[in-house]
């Protein structure tokens, strides 16, 4: 009895296996797991733009939005893996452990986790964008255009990704204007229009005439528009929300990577990778520059953009000093990826302490 049961189980498993294999060969189905709503005009919105690019390339896609990073993530992932999806993109850091856990159970399904570092199984890849390159461009514009020499910066959470962005921004701004100061307000949220507005107002009250942001809503650029100061869009081109205030935006452009990876799955050439692409590979895109930016500065920005893309310029080139004056990167050297990945100290010129 037991033997018969095992045999039928094995045969049905083999049948299922051949079924999935033949499905892979025919058409590939990709799934996306989002942390927020697709209409946030920030992080999730841009991932969904990437998903649509995959659809346009002729592949079927599914998505689940608003998946909390709690115990629920694992269930959603398992259900997607179970329902015939061949590659699953998990687009928030908090999905890291569930992604690796479910990947172990489904060795035939490929998993792509954004902004994480764990690749515990051969079917897990990670990917992230070098947003700090874009922030170097914003810093250059801000440093050149500020009159009060105070630049406001609304930050989300004190993690390396955000600290790196603040540093890159400040270093670039100092290069064109050694007198600038970057003032940080921590909103402790990725998406909360109310809190973000409060933070932006506080910075404007402290004399900031340009506001940068590392949170996802369009609230900050709208506050800047009302207050008559400049701002930069985050994740998507936010120009239409504040046409006067927005000087440019750093766009997250996931489409090419997503199409590439789904194609690789379809061709059977997918392999584990740790991708960290920047302006050069088109994962980070600078939106059109506003006409408020003088033409000589526009030319300078375009050149910096080209140099960052070609690798001629690195956003973290020494000498770089921390707030206390200690040397972080020596003259002529550039910060390596390991240092960038774990960066938890401010550079000189940033005001305040990292909340700990």
């Amino acid at each position: 009895m037991h033997k018969i049961f095992t045999r039928s189980l094995v045969s049905s498993l083999v049948f299922l296996f051949t079924l999935t294999v033949s499905a892979v060969a025919k058409d590939v189905k990709a799934a996306f797991v989002y942390i927020g709503p697709t209409g946030d005009h920030g992080w999730t919105y841009q991932h969904d733009v990437g998903r649509k690019a995959v659809e346009a390339a002729g592949y079927k896609t599914t998505y689940v939005e608003g998946v909390p990073e709690s115990a629920d993530a694992e269930r959603v992932l398992r259900q997607l893996a179970n329902s015939g999806h061949d590659v699953i993109f998990t687009t928030s850091f908090g999905y890291m452990n569930p992604t690796n856990k479910v990947a172990k159970e489904f060795p035939n399904v490929k998993f792509e986790h954004a902004t994480g570092y764990k690749r515990e199984h051969p079917n897990v890849s990670t990917y992230a964008a070098r947003f700090y390159e874009g922030r170097a461009i914003l810093g250059t514009i801000a440093g050149s255009m500020t009159k009060s020499n105070v630049i406001g910066y609304v930050a989300s959470f004190p993690i390396p990704e955000v600290i790196r962005g603040i540093n890159s921004f400040t270093l670039a701004a100092q290069k064109v204007n050694p007198n600038i100061k970057t003032k940080i307000v921590w909103a402790f949220t990725w998406y909360d229009p109310g809190k973000e507005s409060e933070a932006a107002k506080a910075l404007i009250d402290q004399g900031a005439d340009i506001i940068a942001q590392h949170t996802d809503s369009t609230a900050i650029v709208q506050i800047a528009e009302k207050a008559g100061v400049y701002a930069f869009g985050q994740a998507s081109d936010m120009d239409k929300f504040a046409p006067k205030a927005v000087l440019t935006s750093v766009e997250n452009n996931w489409g090419p990577y997503y199409v590439d990876r789904v194609k690789a799955v379809a061709n059977g050439t997918w392999s584990q990778k740790d991708t960290w692409h920047g302006i050069g590979d088109g994962m980070v895109v600078i939106s059109d520059l506003d006409s408020a930016i003088p033409s000589d500065l526009q030319a300078k920005v375009k050149k910096l953009q080209a140099d960052l893309a070609s690798g001629k310029v690195h956003a973290f080139t020494g000498p770089i000093y921390d707030q206390k004056g200690g040397l972080m990167v020596a003259e002529g050297k550039t910060a390596d990826d390991g240092m960038l990945a774990g960066m938890m100290t401010y550079v000189k010129g940033v005001e305040g302490d990292i909340p700990k």
């Binding site: 689940v64 629920d72 269930r75 259900q79 329902s83 959470f157 938890m344 909340p355 700990k356």
Partner: protein
């Protein structure tokens, strides 16, 4: 039939037609009391189907993906129980408060603080194994929840503050404390400064009941809470005191009940249950502390408590029904591309229809026919 002169037009029209009559009940009906939740669920299904139809989805297919497909197999059913466990546990705790006229809205904060305390203890035992670890971790969570619930209780009894506001505001405080800990002192030293702690050792995790499923021993905590609460509500003097205080605080005072003691006690029970729910999440499916321990279980449990009529058995059913709206929303989005947020619409509709049909508790509809 037309004994009275028409006073005001609308009412008079109604009187003349008089096919249906709405009469105030002498006493709230007990049968209706337990039937209205069922009615509310049916109305929700109907309204939900209507919404799907208007949105251009096939209503029956959509409802099938919402309420049947997610629990059609063993795995799905186990996920339902996993999701319902914290809801049931918290709602049981809340029913102690709500029955006795104490409006504890801050179960989410008590859950978070319970998770913080038990997570802290679990991290103390990092990389250690031993049978004694889990009981200590669980106890720590219950104590954490109780401590946190005692704040609104003490402020209410000794300083006459409003427990609704205090308990609600403390939710945000607890989340900020958790943020601070996982970003700073408790963050994983090998974790590239990402906001999460180390993974707990196996001895600090609740045992899994079935290989391959996620359902864990935390469900026994919830079932124990159900049994204990039933006993307390209906078999003890404390339960009677709670009931009297719930009906009328003045009566309770005349009867000589020590109100302050009871208020603190029900808050402590409620906090302990919420704290245990937090323990169940972090030592069950999550296995570490990070910023998002609970997707607002503490708030959703308020709906569960009322849908279950503050009755232990009712709460079991209510927690299963609310849990399925979460699972169904995911399935419906995966298979039919229905926006996942419809799950929240369903939760809102259940509560709305329940409150609306409570009208029937105090009024009855009489079909008088057309006899003259």
């Amino acid at each position: 039939m037309l004994k009275r002169l028409p006073q005001k037009n609308l009412e008079c029209l109604w009187e003349e037609e008089k096919l249906i009559k709405i009469v105030k009940r002498d006493q709230p009906s007990r049968a209706i009391f337990f039937l209205t939740p069922v009615l509310a669920i049916f109305l929700t299904l109907f309204a939900g189907g209507l919404i799907f139809y208007i949105l251009g989805f096939k209503p029956f297919e959509a409802l099938k993906f919402f309420f049947i497909v997610p629990i059609a197999d063993m795995y799905g059913f186990s996920e339902l129980l996993l999701k319902a466990t914290p809801l049931c546990l918290i709602a049981i705790g809340l029913s102690f408060c709500f029955k006795s006229n104490n409006w504890n809205i801050g179960a989410e904060g008590q859950l978070t603080f319970g998770a913080i305390v038990s997570g802290g203890v679990a991290l103390l035992f990092y990389n250690q194994e031993g049978f004694y670890i889990l009981p200590i971790v669980i106890l720590a969570g219950a104590i954490g929840g109780m401590l946190y619930a005692s704040i609104p209780a003490i402020l209410k009894t000794y300083f006459n503050t409003n427990e609704i506001l205090v308990s609600l505001m403390l939710v945000y405080v607890s989340k900020l404390i958790l943020d601070y800990l996982v970003v700073g002192p408790w963050s994983n030293p090998e974790g590239f400064n990402f906001p999460e702690t180390r993974q707990f050792s196996d001895s600090a995790k609740l045992p899994i009941l079935f290989e391959g499923l996620r359902i864990h021993a935390g469900i026994f905590l919830a079932l124990a809470a159900v049994v204990v609460s039933w006993f307390v509500f209906y078999k003890t003097y404390l339960g009677f005191q709670m009931k009297v205080s719930g009906f009328s605080l003045k009566t309770a005072k005349y009867a000589g009940y020590k109100g302050k003691k009871m208020i603190i006690l029900v808050f402590l029970i409620s906090g302990a249950c919420a704290g245990l729910a937090g323990v169940g999440e972090i030592t069950g499916p999550i296995g570490q502390l990070h910023r998002e321990v609970s997707p607002d279980y503490g708030f959703t449990a308020i709906i569960v408590a009322f849908l279950g009529r503050l009755h232990p058995i009712g709460i079991i059913f209510a927690s299963l029904i609310v849990a399925i709206t979460y699972l169904g929303a995911e399935t419906a989005q995966i298979f039919m591309q229905i926006p996942k947020y419809t799950g929240q619409v369903f939760q809102g509709m259940i509560l709305f229809f329940l409150l609306a049909s409570d009208y029937l508790l105090f009024f009855k509809i009489k079909f008088t026919g057309l006899k003259k």
